[in-house]
């Protein structure tokens, strides 16, 4: 029996090989195109996100589905309590194909078998290659395992009130810790503002500031193996002296140990503070509050060879046994945490519009759509440069023991700020906390 093709024009050996080669090539290349319709998986995918614009999440994945991809069931729960809820669900056998996660939980989830390594999935090496080199250790561990994709990224920045600085005769935004202290003191002494410096120093967030301030002085807290090398650096004690002095001398308000970022943004907008150190996108909050000083708030550069802290939360792929389902979920992950099928940062662009969030890809900052999405008060080249050369992630933060250490930092730092511990003891306590966490001695 002859095939129709053979009858029509003849399927000779040459044509067969040509067609076969093209098919094979398509099979190899097609999965690499992010978000490309596969149609191999006919079911629906399950995605768990936290509550930031859930309608936008549904809209975005809806657009992905409309391009011939599987439907996605999006479940949303609050950020508050997300980790225990997610872990309880996964431990209870819930099958979640794609989920938001905190970077510090990412390695633990892989180790527990709740999240898959991404190595070998089509296009994943390109995704990693697309990232800032500074960002890669957040997603690729020391052993080369690719454990997550970006959900959003940010860098800690100095937000400062330009008008107040000019009034105080301060020529430029302070960059080192000493400059920050001196500028704060001048502003306080000249009665321009009572408590010039604010930061989100609640216990849960002190760990981020630990890295921000240490990096600001050129200290990377942990080495590649997770050893707490900050303990051996003579400059570390000075960082804690600075931190304590800022609080004890009233350069930061007494309430700052309990304040929330909304209040701190408002203090900047109202002119009750001159400096606010937190993620770069908090400039959006300060500006959108339309307070009397909102328009005077700018972002300061990270100077010299010092760095600021680069943070971000991640997407993780569930442990999916079915290959077609896994490929479909990976396609969704690429669309959500990298680029769409046209090579555009569709999802990241939306988060940039919504809240000034960023993605750890140099191409993100040069994309015309992204540039248009960011309000003009953002200095995108400066933020991009901060990602590229002015910031570091701390790879130890993804290690399984890290959350135990993180949980202790707040208590130790608050004791320091309240004068209950010396800078020297703080270094010792944090070192002990890191060593204890690594030995598996939990809280």
């Amino acid at each position: 029996m002859k095939s129709k093709n053979a009858a029509a024009g003849g399927l000779d050996r040459r044509a067969f090989l040509k067609a076969g080669g093209a098919t094979a090539l398509a099979a190899i290349l097609a999965p690499g195109l992010a978000g490309r319709a596969e149609a191999a998986f006919s079911g629906s995918l399950d995605m768990l996100a936290w509550d930031f614009q859930p309608d936008t999440i549904k809209k975005l994945v809806g657009e992905w589905t409309a391009k011939g991809n599987p439907a996605v069931n999006v479940a949303v729960i609050p950020n508050l309590g997300f980790s225990p809820a997610l872990q309880t669900r996964l431990r209870g056998g819930d099958a979640i194909d794609l989920f938001y996660n905190f970077a510090y939980n990412s390695q633990k989830f892989v180790d527990q078998g709740w999240a898959a390594k991404l190595n070998g999935l089509p296009g994943v090496d390109d995704m990693v290659a697309d990232m800032y080199e500074s960002a890669r250790p957040a997603y690729v561990n020391a052993a080369g395992d690719i454990i997550s994709a970006p959900y959003f990224s940010a860098v800690h920045m100095m937000h400062y009130n330009d008008r107040m600085l000019k009034e105080a005769g301060i020529a430029a935004a302070p960059q080192t810790l000493k400059e920050i202290h001196d500028a704060s003191k001048i502003l306080k002494d000249k009665k321009i503002v009572e408590n010039p410096y604010v930061a989100y120093w609640v216990k849960e967030f002190c760990e981020e500031y630990l890295h921000t301030y240490l990096l600001n002085e050129g200290i990377t807290a942990f080495d590649a193996a997770g050893k707490p090398v900050f303990a051996d650096d003579p400059k570390t004690e000075g960082v804690f002296e600075w931190w304590q002095t800022m609080y004890q001398d009233g350069l930061a308000p007494k309430s700052v140990l309990n304040d929330d970022p909304g209040k701190l943004s408002n203090q900047m907008a109202q002119g009750d503070a001159a400096f606010f150190v937190l993620h770069h996108y908090f400039l959006s909050s300060i500006r959108s509050l339309n307070g009397p000083e909102s328009a005077n708030v700018m972002q300061g550069p990270i100077g010299g060879s010092n760095h600021t802290f680069q943070i971000g939360e991640v997407l993780q792929l569930g442990q999916i046994a079915d290959e077609e389902r896994r490929n479909a979920a990976w396609d969704l992950m690429k669309f959500y945490g990298w680029k769409d099928s046209a090579g555009k940062f569709t999802v990241f662009n939306q988060w940039a519009k919504a809240a000034g969030l960023a993605a750890p890809y140099p191409g993100f900052f040069t994309d015309p759509d992204v540039i248009a999405a960011f309000p003009d008060y953002f200095d995108l080249p400066m933020i991009s440069k901060t990602f590229e050369t002015g910031s570091k992630v701390v790879p130890a933060r993804t290690l399984p023991w890290y959350p135990d250490f993180q949980a202790k930092v707040g208590d130790v730092v608050h004791a320091l700020l309240l004068g209950q511990a010396t800078p020297k003891k703080t270094v010792e306590d944090l070192t002990a906390a890191a060593n204890s966490a690594q030995k598996g001695r939990s809280l």
């Binding site: 936290w50 509550d51 930031f52 614009q53 859930p54 309608d55 936008t56 479940a75 949303v76 729960i77 609050p78 950020n79 508050l80 309590g81 225990p84 809820a85 309880t88 669900r89 431990r91 209870g92 056998g93 819930d94 959003f152 929330d260 970022p261 909304g262 209040k263 943004s265 408002n266 203090q267 907008a269 109202q270 009750d272 996108y281 959006s284 909050s285 959108s288 509050l289 339309n290 307070g291 939360e313 988060w351 519009k353 919504a354 809240a355 969030l357």
Partner: protein, 306 residues
């Protein structure tokens, strides 16, 4: 209930009188009322702060001192919560309008079903414990109290697995079943205490008249115990209305508390909208408490004076 507990102290003008009939000086009365006023302010201040926060703009929220009586008010926060039309990009949950009212409805449904269920089960259990003590019943009562102090995180796992197998995750039934862990002991404790105070002579009279145990319970005891049942019902309603963790794990923001927690995201904080949503979600329980508060106080203090 004892006669003394039901008796009223004589009312006097000019000088207040104690229950024992001793006169209180004007100074003492003034101090007493002042303390009550300070306590009331202390209790109500956060609520007032919440209400004011829901009626002002974000920039007014940051003004020092906080405007306890705002010079201008706006209903935009309520509008934005209900419609998502904030006029600003800085809003975490833009579809809150389509989620808040259904969540209030679900909270109401879960709480109401739980009240009915608990009053029936706890009513029978408490009556049995009160009237038919058995060897080890005191220990049984203590074990009920102990079950109240077990943290939710310790027992949520088995619930999750069971509900996943049965297929009722993300439904009100998952909450109705799991909430019994903390509401049922509460209801049993309150009702047992209440039944203990009720005179047994009435039941004995009903028994002489030929009523069965269940008939006695339904026809005689339940009407007399209505204040206690109402009080227990209100407290069960409030407990389930404000429950967060079971709802967080077993559902996807089905009820009010996890939905409100969603206002505090990693990326943004919106206290004005949160305040508006909180005020709206407080209305059903507040109305309930206002209607039944007399019964709640009465039942909780039952047996305090013998």
């Amino acid at each position: 209930m004892s006669d003394i507990a039901l008796s009223r102290a004589p009312r006097r003008r000019g000088k207040a009188a104690t229950a024992a009939g001793l006169q209180r000086s004007t100074t003492a009365t003034v101090i007493l009322y002042l303390c009550v006023a300070i306590f009331a302010v202390w209790i109500l201040l956060p609520v007032w702060y919440l209400v004011v926060s829901s009626l002002i703009t974000p920039s007014q929220l940051g003004v020092k001192p906080f405007p306890m009586v705002p010079s201008s008010i706006t209903f935009d926060n309520y509008l934005s919560v209900l419609t998502g039309a904030t006029g600003s990009t800085g809003f975490g949950s833009t579809d809150m309008g389509s989620r808040l009212l259904p969540a209030i409805g679900q909270s109401f449904f879960v709480s109401s079903v739980l009240v009915v269920l608990n009053l029936v089960i706890a009513g029978i259990a408490a009556y049995g414990l009160s009237r038919y003590p058995f060897s080890g019943s005191r220990l049984f009562e203590l074990s009920i109290i102990v079950s109240r102090v077990v943290p939710a995180i310790a027992i949520i796992g088995p619930f999750f697995v069971a509900f996943r197998v049965v297929g009722i995750l993300n439904t009100p039934w998952a909450l109705i079943i799991s909430y019994n862990v903390f509401t049922l002991p509460l209801a049993i404790m309150i009702l047992k205490n209440y039944f203990d105070q009720m005179p047994r002579e009435i039941e004995e009279a009903a028994k002489i008249d030929g009523a069965s145990r269940l008939q006695t319970l339904w026809i005689i005891i339940v009407p007399i115990a209505r204040p206690g049942l109402v009080a227990a019902g209100v407290l069960i309603f409030l407990e389930s209305w404000s429950e967060f963790f079971y709802s967080l794990v077993l559902t996807n923001q089905l009820t009010v508390p996890p939905l409100l927690a969603g206002f505090q995201s990693v990326q943004q904080f919106n206290w004005n909208s949160l305040a508006a949503a909180t005020v709206m979600s407080m209305i059903p329980p507040v109305v309930l408490v206002v209607i039944f508060q007399r019964h709640v106080v009465g039942a909780l203090t039952a047996g305090a004076v013998k």
